[in-house]
Symmetry: C2
Subunit: 461 residues, 2 copies
């Protein structure tokens, strides 16, 4: 089989051809565990990830009584490295360090993923250790307090990064009260009041067999992966004989974002103003994702893009300038970033907004369209050389998209995008409520004329 394939949840196994010569297989175990693999011929290493579809958007205020309080999903992710019934934190670290493997985790807005990249011979070890961490973390009370301090340092580090701050505030500005608007790690206050009992309850409720998705790419044999994973989970104490269906995928309906224009200025010392501007975007499963990829490439995706040329090459107003367009299950954002001198901040912000309007009115040239299509094809081919990228694509296919599009099919969709499609989408985006965030030595009066009737959000920083 070829092209895009709906992944039928609950179906025992499905095999289909994927990018290049690789072979993607998917199994659903009786316990509800899903396993997806992509074997890359000739590869001598593998990347494996253990995923759950739980992220910061699934969290609640402490007073709600829900154990998944703000920041607790990221807190839990940290704790899984602190030890199990049979492995100390040092044991876990030594397992990967002794073979030079990479080993980390990421908490996102809609998922959490624990992953490792190792040489082929070390894949059984990686499966065993990740399975143990995933199933058997002890969440020791002393470790809980120590890790609370580590997370507060992580938040402080991000707080000292003005681009990080601007990005977080941008999601809040555009998505308002939507759960995707909240920062992933919580804040010092919510981390300060998190309790071990609640995080433990969150762990038990969210890390069940039916929640688990394992994806692997590179030097991986699917049958051996399924067998090794099952054995490792059972050794770690999981009872896999109970039958269950995997959890349902998160509903993919577009939520109503409370579409107001917002102006957020976080005034603080520094040499630059970090600007993030933009509008609500598209959901991850929107059929116009390919159009948006082309639009984002032409607009702010490389050194030949409109933003780079207008802001940096022609005017020398910024060093870093680009656009971005992440999509989630029921919301998305389309944003532009630039870091610039305070005296130029209003000019740069106005210029970026004008460029979006110009794209909406005049569309893209044929040259730009074909260049963007070439860009997306070439960049994807290079990215797929890494097993990390393939492992992530499988997880995203299973958790967010419900289909796996091989490279050929993905590029066919991009190749069908027309200049009219791009202009229509740009027009739609340019008409949405426009928000602006500025972090640095600047005050909000500079931007009043750029954001229409803004809902100025209080600066809580």
């Amino acid at each position: 089989m070829n092209g895009a394939v709906e992944l039928p949840l609950g179906e025992p196994e499905l095999a289909f051809r994927a990018a290049g010569d690789t072979h993607v297989r998917r199994s659903v175990l009786p316990s509800g565990i899903r396993v997806l693999s992509e074997q890359v011929p000739g590869s001598r290493s593998a990347t494996i990830g253990f995923w759950v579809a739980v992220g910061s958007r699934d969290e609640h205020p402490a007073e709600s009584g829900n154990p998944a309080t703000f920041g607790s999903t990221h807190f839990l992710e940290h704790l899984l490295f602190k030890g199990t019934e049979t492995r100390s934190a040092l044991d876990i670290a030594v397992s990967f360090d002794a073979v030079g493997g990479e080993h980390n985790a990421v908490t996102a807005k809609e998922y959490t993923c624990y992953y490792a990249k190792v040489q082929d011979r070390d894949l059984p070890m990686a499966i065993e250790v990740l399975a143990d961490m995933f199933t058997s973390s002890v969440l020791d009370p002393d470790d809980f307090e120590s890790e609370r301090r580590v997370i507060l340092e992580e938040l402080a580090m991000a707080g000292d990064d003005p681009a990080d701050v601007a990005n977080e505030r941008f999601f809040e500005a555009v998505l308002g009260t939507h759960p995707l608007a909240r920062p992933i790690g919580g804040d010092p206050e919510t981390i300060g009041v998190a309790t071990r009992d609640a995080v433990l309850e969150h762990y038990r409720a969210s890390y069940r067999p039916r929640d688990l998705v394992v994806t692997a790419a590179g030097a991986v044999d699917h049958d051996a992966l399924v067998a090794g994973l099952s054995a490792a989970l059972e050794t770690a104490g999981w009872e896999l004989s109970e039958t269950a269906a995997p959890v349902d995928r998160r509903p993919a309906e577009l939520a109503l974002v409370d579409g107001r224009s917002a102006l957020t200025v976080v005034e603080r010392p520094g040499e630059q103003v970090n600007l993030v501007l933009g509008v609500p975007g598209l959901v991850a499963t929107d059929e116009r994702r390919a159009v948006l990829s082309v639009l984002n490439t032409v607009f702010g995706g490389g050194m030949s893009s409109r933003l780079f040329q207008q802001v940096r090459e022609r005017r020398g107003l910024a060093y870093a300038v680009y656009s971005f367009a992440p999509g989630y299950s029921d919301a998305g954002v389309f944003g532009m970033y630039a870091g610039c001198a305070p005296k130029n901040a209003a000019t740069v912000a106005a210029l970026m907004r004008t460029e979006l309007e110009r794209l909406a009115h005049h569309g893209v040239t044929d040259d730009e369209l074909s260049r963007a299509i070439g860009y997306l094809g070439g960049a994807s081919a290079l990215a797929l050389e890494d097993s990390d990228t393939r492992m992530s694509r499988l997880g995203r296919a299973e958790l967010a998209l419900g289909e796996f599009a091989d490279l050929d099919e993905a590029l066919r969709r991009v190749g069908r995008v027309t200049a009219d499609d791009v202009r229509a989408l740009a027009g739609e985006l340019a008409d949405r409520p426009f928000s602006l965030v500025a972090v640095g030595p600047v005050d909000e009066h500079a931007f009043r004329s750029i954001v229409d009737q803004p809902d100025t959000r209080p600066d809580v920083a």
Copy 2:
């Protein structure tokens, strides 16, 4: 041939076996151009770099009359993207963007490298465009002024990153008046007074055939590379019939660093204090580089390292904590980094210094030694999957080391390291003048007891 091979400068060609099944070849063209390639069977992409052994250390104050003024090497690197006799800045960007290639450059303390990563079919294009940029940049006066503003923004961005600031100040603290101590990009003042005439003169003096080293790895055929490169350079206007020997490698004698202890505190607002502590290290060609790799791995190289365990795992005092040990032709540094709460800064600094002294007195365990050896082997094997890494290793071999050690030989050297070697080197490092840099909301009194008789450098930030 196998193992480490002295690269005889001026010898027409040398072939030897490299990591895995790859094949490394080196040619010296009559004009003095050096070409090194590593063909990786089965690879569908390639990374190519154009190098010169000119970096920030080769710069001088404006009043010296030398055209390579502080920051001008990095300035020149930016200008090479701005256009040639036959290609505009947009043309250059479009060439790579249209095929989804990666395309960038790096200015370092001892070299500058322009590179591209592309699919195999696009390698001839990459050679042509890079050759044109390297030989035929016009350094247009208007572009010069516009790019001056871009570089000032780049410096401002780095100035807003407290870890960047701490790292730059650390080199100044440890290396004092040595040319390697200076920051790579210059500062706003030196960039402000740079002139187009001087940068043009610097370009003409430093980018001659005898300066050029081209390295490529991945899907690359050596003979085709040499032929394509020669043709591209001649098309761009270079006269290659003149015979010349390559420039001599930079002398690798250890310079006398003015070994004083220094305490540098850059007091500024923020949530964390960024600490960098350490001592003068080893030169790049020191025969104890393998010992230092093992030492650095045990001490601060991974989650099982001493620093990670003592500072983060046991005490929760930092999120990011690690050590580093870069070596240059005639100097090096050994440093430790941590970002922590202001109230813990003195504790963390003292703890890190104590850990170095503990390593000096008690050495490493057999477990730690064998784990570090496993770490270096595994991490190298994973890193060599990327043609980027292989391309960089070839450049470093030619410019800095004068030999190319294949993976097997490199690991043999690491495998011969003993616990006594590590302890002896740790003892030597711990006895060297110790410097400390802190950037954040803290004052110098906190650290007086940690640095012995410090030479407090003025805060010029």
